[in-house]
């Protein structure tokens, strides 16, 4: 990134008795869709609020478009935000809500009305300007909040868990809408969420935070397939983590002694014999061996029993407890054979050792 649009430099935020954000630095390119994610209390919302000027960092700098914004007050930053609870003004009509920022900067009533209705049209609420907020559905209110933030044609849009109050169906629908807006407007979106699926569906780059510190930043696929540490691996969820000690190295593989046996993983870290090592296998990389099927040469096998099955549309997640007491997850297309996979059924898992990922920092 040669010329970041938003640059966070060593941001630090301390509250009495709570160090919310620790020495955080991040560059965001112009037009990038970036998602800040992590469990609640990880500092993602505080970071967003500091960018908006709603919190003053204890130390560090915030640059937007090359300008130092650290001490610019919130009303002069031009960083509109979409709130989790929407924060629509209940005493104003839909149109007046959307036109609010235009009124604040002193646009004429006629041009305000025109711009507001143009935006309402763009978010699919044409002709609803005169309505009262209480007359709108949850999804419609969400659109009003988005139109209200975008009406000044900002170069950056901040979103603080904007979809978490909606039901699953609407959430997916509005995700598509947000992706479309981002494509058309080509402005920077900074999106805070605790939902992995939202972040992955929308963002060019995800930033995983924990404890006020960035754990990993990168394209969703890279973070998903190659988590840098145990926290990111478990936050991504859909994988199985195994631990063992290094036994030997050969042919670009490391052999690891685990309770499940000696298992090969790609040789991507410098670890001497005897060193502790952790690796993860994506749930979609796991496979069940059929009745008399044998695993290919060099592919590990783990015996265990089915604990449960979860369906997500056409895919299913099978939870397996190995004989060694470890929880394994396997994700695959729904094959319709779940009748034989009742809890307690003995199964054998296998995977291609090249698909294991060694955690650089356990």
């Amino acid at each position: 990134m040669i010329d970041p649009y938003v640059r966070l430099e060593a941001l630090d935020m301390r509250y009495p008795g709570h160090h919310a954000v620790k020495d955080l630095s991040l560059d965001i390119a112009g037009g990038e869709f970036i998602a800040l994610m992590g469990p609640s209390g990880c500092g993602k919302s505080t970071t967003l609020r500091m960018i908006a000027g709603l919190e003053q960092p204890t130390s560090g700098r915030i640059l937007i478009g090359g300008q130092d914004m650290t001490h610019v007050s919130a009303d002069r930053r031009g960083t509109p935000m979409v709130w989790q609870n929407l924060a629509l003004f209940p005493f104003l009509s839909v149109e007046d809500n959307v036109a609010f920022s235009l009124k604040m900067r002193g646009d004429s009533p006629a041009s305000r009305r025109r711009a507001a209705n143009e935006w309402l049209e763009k978010v699919g609420l044409g002709g609803m300007g005169k309505r009262h907020i209480s007359q709108l559905s949850g999804g419609q209110r969400q659109r009003v909040a988005i139109a209200r933030a975008l009406v000044t044609q900002p170069s950056i849009l901040l979103l603080d868990e904007p979809l978490s109050a909606l039901d699953a169906h609407l959430r997916v629908h509005l995700q598509t809408e947000l992706a479309r807006l981002h494509r058309e407007l080509k402005i920077t979106f900074i999106y805070v969420t605790h939902s992995q699926s939202e972040a992955f569906a929308l963002a060019d780059r995800v930033v995983v935070m924990a404890d006020g510190v960035i754990q990993q930043a990168g394209p969703p696929r890279a973070v998903y397939r190659a988590p840098v540490n145990g926290f990111v691996a478990s936050f991504m969820g859909m994988n199985t983590r195994m631990d063992g000690s290094v036994a030997a190295r050969s042919d670009g593989m490391i052999w690891v002694d685990c309770p499940e046996g000696r298992i090969a993983v790609p040789d991507t870290v410098a670890a001497g014999p005897g060193a502790a090592l952790s690796f993860v296998i994506g749930a979609d990389r796991m496979r069940l061996l059929g009745g008399h099927e044998r695993a290919p040469e060099g592919h590990p096998t783990v015996a265990g029993r089915v604990v449960g099955i979860e369906f997500v549309g056409s895919t299913q997640t099978i939870f397996v407890a190995s004989d060694t007491g470890r929880d394994f997850r396997l994700q695959r297309l729904d094959l319709g054979d779940d009748a034989v996979l009742t809890p307690g059924t003995p199964v054998t898992l296998t995977w291609d050792p090249r698909h294991a990922w060694v955690l650089p920092h356990p």
Partner: protein, 301 residues
């Protein structure tokens, strides 16, 4: 959601009617004591008060009659008209002063303080409401009188005496003693109910501090502001103690006029006319403010 649905379905076929009946009866039973109290000690006395306005006084004794003369006499009398204008003026000015002093304080307490500090300030405002108002007005009289604390202190410093008792200053001090804590509390509670994210959203959308106040904070607590203003007006308009102790009944307010009317010749009917007139004015003030503040709250229809 599902559990609730099942519950409702389970009730309806069998014992639906009984339960629905209980649901309607219970609030009635719970509300009955207060309703009876209000009926016995407010509605009936007011009706009696209205009835009396048509009675006659003969040789210092009340006699039932239907005489419109009391109304005519009082409404056309100069002392009544003067007192009416004066009382309205005093109450309006005192209310305005009260709102101007109370709002910034309430804003600071509700939006600018930590949780602990806010609780302390609220307690600090509630305590005066429970202490005797008459006692406080009497104390003000002592403080402000020619031989009072202020003038004695001034004399000790070798400064000239000031005439503090009587007039708008002392009257407003008295009325503010009455209204300020209550009005500040009403505004504080109204402001505490404002969704903070609305204020942040306004800032975020480019509103300056003044614009947030005018465009978001005040509209958001419109009915609270109305209630606070009408409370200040109601309390100041009907007050008796401050005008008596701090202005020596000069000029007389409507409350003072009532007492004078009764004292001079047991004119209960005419005093009742003044009383009923005051109630009508207060009711009008209340309804007007309600109308002004609730008008747009329901939204575009």
């Amino acid at each position: 959601m599902t559990a609730r649905l099942e519950k409702t379905q389970a009730i309806t076929p069998a014992g639906g009617r009984t339960r629905a009946g209980n649901r309607a009866v219970l609030p009635l039973v719970l509300g009955l004591p207060v309703a009876l109290w209000q009926l016995a000690f407010f509605v009936l006395p007011v009706i009696f008060l209205i009835v009396i306005t048509f009675w006659k006084v003969r040789s210092f004794r009340l006699e039932p009659a239907f005489d419109l003369g009391n109304w005519e006499k009082v409404l056309t009398s100069t002392p009544f008209q003067r007192a009416l204008v004066y009382t309205t003026e005093v109450a309006a000015i005192a209310s305005l002063l009260c709102m101007l002093i109370a709002f910034p304080a309430a804003h600071a307490i509700a939006l600018g303080l930590s949780e602990t500090a806010r609780r302390r300030w609220i307690a600090f405002l509630i305590i005066p409401v429970f202490s005797s108002y008459i006692l406080k007005v009497y104390a003000w009289q002592v403080v402000l009188s020619p031989g009072g604390v202020v003038n004695v202190s001034l004399a000790a410093l070798g400064l000239p005496q000031v005439d503090l008792l009587g007039g708008a200053l002392s009257l407003n001090i008295g009325l503010l003693t009455l209204t300020l804590p209550v009005v500040t509390l009403i505004l504080t509670f109204a402001l505490m109910g404002v969704d903070r994210s609305l204020l942040e959203a306004a800032r975020n959308l480019g509103a300056s501090g003044g614009q947030v106040l005018m465009q978001v904070t005040l509209p958001a607590i419109r009915s609270g502001v109305g209630l606070a203003a009408v409370t200040a007006f109601l309390m100041s308009f009907g007050d008796y103690a401050s005008p008596v102790f701090l202005t020596g009944s000069n000029p007389p307010t409507l409350s003072i006029l009532i007492v004078d009317t009764v004292k001079s010749g047991s004119q209960w009917p005419r005093a009742s006319v003044i009383g009923v007139s005051m109630l009508v004015i207060l009711a009008l003030a209340f309804v007007t403010v309600q109308f002004l503040t609730q008008r747009r709250a329901g939204g575009a229809r």
